[in-house]
Symmetry: C2
Subunit: 552 residues, 2 copies
């Protein structure tokens, strides 16, 4: 690892350390955990990532979406076993870290592809909206249970009495106004300033003897409490098993989001990052979080941007930000007790709303309706039912779309462009055909999803050309033939043999040809194998009659 | 529907009706239901299929594998709700029929593709072996609980006392010897003869005052009992829901097996069958079974073969077989009470063992190791854990293999075959290259499973060619670009722009080009789009230096 580039890394680290203070407290609140759970997630994991990761600009630590995932996973687990939610969050950190380490060891980084673009965008937008909606009651001093629209619907259906609190609203809405103004001016450390301002205001009001009513304050943040975290190892084995699906989703989201941020920033500096070392770095950071009392961690969008703009040159910048954060928290600890929850909620709302990317939905619908539908469904499910159901449904839908795509591949009857050796779709080009030859190009591997359908299509096409004595399959687009494809081809060849039609193949790709030969192609093919389409055409033209001209 | 061809359909129907008698009784025993549940499955469903189906040779009715699936699904359902197993079997028939009807209405026949060749072969072999193993205790007068090796392992671990029965063994093993001899001689109606012989022997022994000890007999078969079947509509709604996954698997297996048999037989007569009408016919047959007291039904391998060899010409032959079966059963009913279970078990063993297709496993392993592994795993899981777990795991594994296949597509650097307009893989052909141009052909759609990986591969390849100023992607093999692929391509173009490398595309397929243009290709592509590879080569050769010769 390179030595720190103090001139660049120190200022960048200072900036990010300053932003970490309000975010660590806010995301712990979002995860419904004591503030120190966010503090601990902002110390050791950053150092471990600096040692193991590969990105120079990725700012590790607590992030809003993982905090929401923790908040949505823990209640069910805690209810079943009466466990401490903090211990459960640590369990999730440990398991997510262990799964990431396993993925690194088994080179499973390709699994990240399961989170396709529509699922990821739909999920991030839906989760950001869910987070923002969830904070609005806190902004005005209300407390609603649960984190999904369904939870709130049930709550409101029970006809509760709602009493917003004036002081909370004043602090919360005031902070929102300040933060939005600061964002417009690109004052990146404004959240820290607003926190300081709010603490000063509360202190002044309290000193003036003002009763602050129902204004909820953060309460004392004792750093030593961070070292007295509950042990996840005391939790029963059944819980470890039960928490695995949630941990797997946390690991997947943490990895895909971190990778996207790191790759986007690296590209702007002509650097490349290693997907596998990112996996290792993220695994280490989460294991460190779980062992040192912290929430699950990932790369933060806002802090990474700050690290980049601050000019970080080596991975030390991230570690330096943790050090500065430690100093800041130690100094500010006695004061943080006076920080209103409403101000933290304001910080969360302003931080996550830019993640709601409505134009991405419009682009997706325009590009591919099915994918736009998946994106919208995942966003709505995230809002309505929660993150786990939405992600699981999204991944399943992406796989179903892929299966459907391979199930109905493109194929075309081809003929010869007159005077050339080129063969093209008869529907698009004016080509020559031979009366007794039907030649079809298949633009997809022969796979279990399409093998039966393709042999039916070919059979039907042949039935429309009763004079054809030869069927020539142009295999230039067939990258693979699986066992189902092989069997369908064999059965089809058998049917053609009964009908007295010869089945020929041309332009087989090397690996496909090798495997077909090994599977005894010569024994069951009632025709010949030609290297190129033009060789097939020339050889068969003697038997298949004089060329005809066909227009599309 | 054509009029019956009496000269051909009657003899074929008679043959099959004769074989139905022992099989209907045996498969009801295999499903652990009263004999009439098999009888009822052999009457009405055959007539309904004749009206709705499309195959002339498919012999509908009870089959061994569905009987095993019923036996494996019902105990858990019955235990939870204390329901009658016969009522549960009817529920499965009804639900399987309804699902098949739904699939026909929504044109979901493509879902049959989910049962890929390795899963189907592994399952059929494993199930046949499980059935045969399950009958061996009955052959010698033992009764073991459950239907999987795991069940038996638990039973033997409990240290039971085992007392085989001499008379059962005499009848069972005697029947096996006769049936194997008959099979070698291709006496297709031997099972009926063996049944008659066994009944006569029992009658003679009983008349002679011989005590037959623990020999289990079928017991009286009263046809009227078949009309007094328990109503599945009396079962609680929760059970209907709980039975759905098992019913879906039964529907899937029934459809895929029936279709495979019907297609294979139709091809031998140059006939084509309609996959959708098969779905309708099978749906009707199963609904009829569920409403008239019968087990779930499908096309039988052995009886369909007999119908074909008997010369059936129209779908009336199947209906005629049901009529003859009705006559036979009515006449034989008083005698069937004396039929030993061991003889039915012998019939089952001899009928299913040919379905264990060991050479198919060897072929699969040789053709594609991963698919051979799936086939073996499905067979073992069927034996060890039962049919539902095995099928679910097999379908999941097939999908995983497909994802993996698209995740790492083939790509190649291409150069020009000197003096031609043809571009080929630089690793296989002696081609020309331009020093400042890197040209790569991608042989798969750009999809969420491979988009990120491909842009990394391209980036790495570019890093090895620092003098390249142009990257030309030959898109002739790219049949589709999904949203993830589009975003990866856009991000990659952005990275190249920073590096000062131009990204060009050639040979885009029509539909792909249309969608890229609609998504604003011109705005983000830092290069040009060429219709053909040779046009790109000609245009770029002015900027990219003189050709070099490269040997593979």
């Amino acid at each position: 690892m390179k030595a720190p580039d103090w001139r660049h890394d120190l200022p960048a680290g200072l900036l990010v350390g300053g932003l970490l203070l309000p975010q660590a407290l806010a995301y712990a609140m979002l995860a419904e955990l004591p503030p120190v759970a966010g503090v601990m997630a902002s110390l050791l994991p950053l150092g471990v990532y600096a040692l193991l990761g590969s990105s120079r600009q990725l700012a590790m630590g607590p992030v809003a979406i993982l905090a929401l995932m923790v908040a949505s996973a823990t209640p069910a687990l805690a209810a079943a076993h009466g466990a401490d939610p903090w211990a459960l969050a640590l369990l999730l950190s440990l398991e997510a870290g262990a799964l990431l380490a396993l993925a690194a060891a088994l080179r499973l980084d390709a699994l990240a592809a399961l989170l396709s673009a529509p699922v990821l965008h739909g999920f991030v937008s839906g989760a950001a909206l869910a987070i923002a909606l969830g904070q609005i009651p806190k902004l005005i001093g209300l407390n609603l249970p649960g984190s999904t629209l369904l939870d709130w619907g049930r709550f409101f259906a029970s006809g509760p009495e709602l009493r917003p609190d004036a002081w909370s609203a004043a602090f919360g809405l005031g902070a929102v106004v300040l933060l939005v103004l600061a964002r417009l001016r690109r004052w990146r450390l404004a959240p820290l300033g607003v926190v300081a301002l709010a603490i000063a205001a509360v202190a002044a009001l309290q000193a003036g003897g003002q009763a602050l009513g129902a204004l909820r304050l953060t309460g004392a943040v004792h750093l030593l409490d961070g070292l007295r975290f509950p042990s996840p190892f005391a939790l029963p084995a059944a819980l470890w098993l039960q928490a695995l699906p949630a941990a797997a989703l946390i690991a997947l989201v943490a990895y895909v989001e971190s990778l996207a941020i790191a790759q986007a920033l690296a590209a702007r500096r002509q650097e490349r990052i290693s997907t596998r070392r990112e996996l290792v770095g993220l695994a280490g950071a989460n294991l460190a979080a779980g062992l040192s009392g912290g929430l699950p961690v990932a790369g933060s969008f806002s802090r990474s941007g700050l690290l980049f703009e601050g000019g970080a040159r080596t991975r030390w910048a991230g570690a330096l930000s943790a050090l500065l954060f430690l100093v800041l928290v130690s100094l500010a600890a006695p004061w943080l007790a006076r920080l209103p929850h409403a101000v933290l909620a304001a910080g969360i709302v302003v931080a996550v709303l830019p993640l709601v990317d409505l134009p991405a939905f419009r682009r997706a619908w325009r590009y591919a309706r099915a994918e736009g539908a998946v994106m919208t469904a995942v966003a709505l499910l995230t809002l309505l039912l929660g993150v786990e159901a939405a992600l699981a449904a999204g991944v399943a839908a992406s796989i179903a779309l892929l299966l459907q795509r391979t199930a109905r591949p493109h194929w075309a009857e081809v003929g010869r462009l007159p005077g050339t050796e080129v063969f093209r779709n008869t529907k698009r080009f004016q080509v020559e055909l031979l009366p007794e030859l039907l030649s079809i190009r298949i633009d997809e591997g022969l796979l279990f999803t399409n093998a039966r359908w393709l042999s039916e299509v070919l059979g039907a096409e042949l039935a429309r050309r009763p004079q054809a004595r030869h069927l020539l399959l142009m295999m230039s687009g067939v990258n693979d033939i699986d066992l189902s494809g092989l069997e369908a081809l064999q059965q089809f060849a058998q049917e053609l043999r009964v009908q007295g039609v010869q089945l020929h193949l041309s332009e087989l790709k090397g690996p496909v040809a090798d495997r077909l030969m090994a599977a005894g192609l010569a024994d069951w093919l009632p025709g010949r194998v030609f290297r190129t389409q033009i060789e097939a055409w020339t050889a068969l033209s003697r038997e298949a009659g004089d060329p005809l001209w066909v227009s599309p």
